[in-house]
Symmetry: C2
Amino acid sequence: MSSNQDYKMKTEATEEELYKTACEVMPGGISRNVVFHKPHPFYVSEASGCYITDINGVKKVDFANNIASLIHGHAHPKIVEAVCNQIKKGTAYTLATEIEIEHASLLCNRVPGFDKIRFMNSGTEAVMAMIKAARAYTGKPKIAKAEGGYHGSFDTAEVSQSASPANWGDIDSPNSVAHVQGTPKEVLDNVVIFPYNDIERTINILNRHAAHLACVIIDPVPHRIGMVQATPEFVEAVYNWTRQNNALLCFDEVICFRVAYEGAQSNYNVKPDLTSLGKIIGGGFPIGGLAGNKEIMNILDPSGNDYRFALSGTFSANPVSMTAGKVAMELLDREALDKLNHNSQIAIKQIKEAGKLADIPLSITGKGSMFKIHFREVAPTNFRESYEDAARKKVINLFLDKMYEENIIIINSCSCVLSTVITQKEIDMLSEAMLNSFRFIKPYLSA
Amino acid sequence: MSSNQDYKMKTEATEEELYKTACEVMPGGISRNVVFHKPHPFYVSEASGCYITDINGVKKVDFANNIASLIHGHAHPKIVEAVCNQIKKGTAYTLATEIEIEHASLLCNRVPGFDKIRFMNSGTEAVMAMIKAARAYTGKPKIAKAEGGYHGSFDTAEVSQSASPANWGDIDSPNSVAHVQGTPKEVLDNVVIFPYNDIERTINILNRHAAHLACVIIDPVPHRIGMVQATPEFVEAVYNWTRQNNALLCFDEVICFRVAYEGAQSNYNVKPDLTSLGKIIGGGFPIGGLAGNKEIMNILDPSGNDYRFALSGTFSANPVSMTAGKVAMELLDREALDKLNHNSQIAIKQIKEAGKLADIPLSITGKGSMFKIHFREVAPTNFRESYEDAARKKVINLFLDKMYEENIIIINSCSCVLSTVITQKEIDMLSEAMLNSFRFIKPYLSA
């Protein structure tokens, strides 16, 4: 084939046509499962602020923000300007840059528990580095994670992420369920699964593996565990257990770092040893980060006396992600964050009212600028309660499609995340679309 | 601390001062081991084409190109323009884009063995996805890789990357050596190590694990195995073995895809089942890719009959990396690539002449636009031969520092990678700096 062939699509292509071509070159026609949608994915033309324009020219309000990663919506002028200035000076070098020090300083000064930080390219890489660091520091091989918890695609981190009634086993000792077929038994055996927020069962389970556990990973506002906040009692019980058993408490704040100015961990009296980061700290560009206690982080120092963990990465700490991330976090000052969280409370209130008007069972979980809709009278408190079977998932998909038709984009888990550029106007559009969509699915909910 | 604090460094800060601040917030003061340098890393101010200007205002010629990832050097005007246009329209959405289909089409049309492709955020993620796909497809847990081979930081992929005489064991059955302390024994046990380019020993080793091997991974121009090209006989022997033993042949072309228009695999009569990609296909932005046989790739299709491998990723296939990558690959047509490789041959010839003038032992390995300097009369043919002990590494570091002083940046493995914007002028600067540096280290080489 000629090297001069132009791969620009016909601008008049329909979504069906685009998807047909996509299926010829990508499995399922997609490059991320999250965009998968039947009969075809939706295609973006451009986005600005809290609005996305699809390739049909239809404008939609974005309450998904690339799965919670865009805290200031799309193409924030200050980020665009700073990043384009950087790109003209290069996007990556084999040498260090000042901007990585500036972004590291900003984050370490912002969060009390962040003595030192290292950057990677994704949340997946951040969690993998966190687990490797815990193993290197403690010399123990096992990790513990919550059933249903999503922590990226490192094979060890994704165990039991998609457990179901068919395979999850006894709640007193949940099975370690492979997320991807072919995950070696040896990987599964090194992952201990506990029921989220269940202190007694969790401590019993941890005790059985105490000698081999390097760390316990907690996402304090877990998107895939019903977005139920970890209780202070649960976090403290696990923290105390790790102190007594030579294990680390690791927080996954890739998604939930946005919920408070100093991260979700500021909502607890005890602090994690290590925290994985991603999403908003990259200002819309690929990023990951591992931050925490100096003594542990120093195992990454090639010149240190306690060097145990060699880590590089072609694009880690690249000046584009660093620049965008620094500007985004500077813009997210206490005032901006308070306003964002306040707006989210207004949205939740209005959606609850819409639920009453539509007379459907409704509960809402979440924290800060993230919340999740449940079509249940009582909010779930753990993964098994939040599990939706195939019939319920079908109704949820009807709801999501109806919301999209109403020109509102939310996350396919029925979650919304707000950006700082959302105003009362868009919140009203959200709750109105919710009302219409609630009414639309009501017959199916009671069926 | 006030949220308004300005984290911009003093522009007059020296490298020593910057590094002091860096050490307070990052382990070892760095975010990637590759930039680590004593007494401090070097800091970039800006870059353009094949020149980098450091923070002291000194211009240097870049023969490292962010570890081989920048095929057109820094801030190529066409990439800058296309990317800045995209950034104004947003950097990431929760929906699909046309540009990901265009880039996927370009790559699949370019390389005969690429039926389908999926994008990730780094080479590390690409190799991890390749291994997970091989395990899911074959149902077997073990992987085989070459001693000394670098394949990113997935724990399974990095085993024996840094093996040394103290731990590498018998060449007939090399040990699986942890790269990071605390790597679980169970991970090591699932990785089979073979001696690169040694057909008889490798086949014997593979045979012993045949029932459990999902794949054999080969980097055909391995940067960390002396940059010795895989022989056609070796690749064919491994290929035939995988056909007979229900295993996949996986190529890691994250670095070496640049060596030929259709990738390094075009230099062989047999084709890998799967290929991991990264570096140049992102045009200077974070990227990874997994490409290969349709039947295998389809295990990633959520709507397919053979769905086994669920994979998402917040920034995977983001429109910035896709745009930059597509423009970069379009610019890298057959003519551009032939010229680039031709220039590299000229550079090698001139460096060999410099070696003769300086009267030092010298051999050069590599392929295409990548080559590696060895201070030996005879080029190494495998990892153990290419191993440099502490005393030799000290001399190599003297050489690297002298090259930097001569205003030439090369990779710390003594490797050079060219970009398409390098001209005869810079090649002359390279060989002249080499001559000076060869003369400088000559006394240490013979010591």
